[in-house]
Symmetry: C2
Subunit: 337 residues, 2 copies
């Protein structure tokens, strides 16, 4: 009788861990505790496990590099996300190759091609637009190179992703503004076509609905508006605005500028909440309340999902919707109103 | 008589341009004006120019990618430098592959290897330390891949570089503080081993010397000091500090915090100048005077030098020491004292 060849799955089942963990322990790749790694190596030896030569050769064909496509580096958010990614990839012995897309799809397509040409083992990407063309992403996946999306995703792309719960994040901010008594809450929306813009606006709407406050079109502004400062000025002057929730901390700073010009004191007359917990929120006066999205954790989860998929392409789809955290600082009056 | 084969140099001489310009015009690579390109193409056609097949094959061996090694992305300085680089490389049809070193030499060595493995056509690097080992840089240059250093350089590495005139930048800041009447000027130094730290300190010293102000050891602090805030507090309390010049804008913000705690008004009692013109300098109150280093221009010059060297490896060493610009904002009292 021919002896059955021992597979990674056999070892995984015996030790009640995932095949991906076994693969990583055997190949010295990802994060496996020392104890678990020793257990796996001992059992593999006992069972006479020998790596499948084809798999082995494929493994050795790796470049140990991971590609990262992000829109830009100006926002602290992406540098924190990068730090989270690096915390995982560098421990696993991977090098990162980074490309920026500048929110431009043609550039994103080129970046994808460049990373594939550099034979990266996998790609992490923050895609530049929603509801647009995804052929390049599909092509990348068809090439067999694992892909994980971070920060933004599209329902058209079936691949692991890690996003932040923008709906709940926005909801918690506007709910707070309502709780402290705001009734005319200005919202500055983000760039068109981004899932984050849409979800934050939905969170704003839902919080108003909960508090039975009517949505007023005149309190909605677009960040892309070339006359944004003027629109804010008009809004603050004519609509008794007592609260503001903005797509980003930078947009909140625009409100600060206009409020200061109009002698509207923050937070006494106007409470403001931004989004993303960028460093600017602690530099400005008063310090800005904001929604923290855990970008470091987002990067770390994304990198782990990608390593899992590199080590085990058949792994089930992993997705994560990270909790946000409302950070209340000097720009909001107290709960007592 | 065998007809002489027309070379790029012949065309260059005839049109009084560099061979590198001709090469770029013919290969559709770098920045050549439409007019110049047409002139070159017309003459090449007229003279029956045909590319040297070996040169052509070498040219076609290009990946049209450029590697960039920078310490990190947290500072706006590097994202501006990146924008400057991209403004040149994207127009020339090159893709950027970026690696971060986190100011860690082991990481920098790995990044260099990764970029060479990806067969980049050239590398732009902000080296992580001064007076340290440079074997990896030497190895990179020996491999024939052109290298240009940006922001920091070392006299041990003979390759084109673009830096900012840190000595003059610091001198102009401290000279200004002296001119408005400051006599006890605190200086917070940058990280050890960086040419920028050294040159800014030298500029500080030279400005004091010019104004015949004695250098006082007790007014010199180190940014790496774990008790920095306490040291600033001690300094402001005990040494009648009336001016401060810091290695970075972030360090200036530390002085703001302590001054506010001690009720020392800026600029009435204490004038402060930071360095780098980071966004924080316009967010804080009062807005911070600082030294602008033209990071966009630094990136653009560096990228141009690299393209020149890619297109013409024999080109003479190009170096640039960019002028800085003193930006006076609310943190300094007026010139009248």
């Amino acid at each position: 009788m021919k002896k059955k060849r021992i597979s990674i799955t056999d070892i995984a089942n015996a030790l009640n861990v995932t095949p991906s963990t076994v693969s990583r322990a055997l190949n010295g790749g990802g994060k496996v505790s020392e104890k678990k790694r020793n257990e796996i190596l001992a059992l593999a030896k006992e069972l006479g496990y020998r790596p499948n030569p084809i798999a082995k050769s494929l493994l050795e064909n790796r470049t140990n590099t991971i590609g990262l496509i992000i829109p830009e580096f100006t926002h602290h958010f992406y540098s924190r996300m990068l730090a989270g990614i690096e915390s995982v990839t560098s421990e696993a012995g991977y090098q990162l190759l980074i490309c920026t897309s500048n929110e431009n799809q043609a550039q994103e397509i080129k970046s994808t091609q460049t990373l594939l040409d550099a034979r990266v083992d996998g790609i992490l990407a923050t895609i530049s637009k929603m509801n647009d063309k995804f052929e390049h992403i599909q092509e990348e996946m068809d090439s067999g190179t694992p892909l994980v999306l971070v920060d933004r995703f599209s329902e058209e792309i079936e691949t692991p992703y890690v996003i932040s719960d923008d709906f709940k994040g926005a909801f918690s901010a506007v709910d707070y503004l309502c709780e402290i008594g705001c009734r005319n809450i200005l919202h500055i929306k983000g760039p068109d076509n981004l899932s984050t813009t849409f979800n934050r606006f939905m969170g704003y709407k839902e919080a108003l609905r909960k508090h039975e406050i009517e949505l007023k079109e005149e309190l909605l502004l677009e960040s892309s508006d070339t006359n944004l400062l003027e629109k804010i000025r008009f809004c603050l002057t004519n609509h008794q605005v007592d609260g503001a929730f903005t797509y980003s901390d930078y947009l909140a700073f625009e409100i600060y500028k206009v409020a200061s010009e109009l002698n509207i004191p923050i937070p006494e007359q106007l409470s403001v909440i931004g989004y993303a917990d960028e460093p600017i929120s602690t530099y400005i006066n008063p310090t800005l309340s904001t929604v923290n999205q855990q970008p470091f954790e987002m990067g770390a989860f994304g990198a782990n999902y990608l390593l899992n998929k590199i080590n085990n392409p058949e792994i089930a789809l992993e997705i994560k919707n990270l909790e946000t955290r409302l950070v209340i600082r000097g720009s909001c009056k107290g709960l007592e109103g």
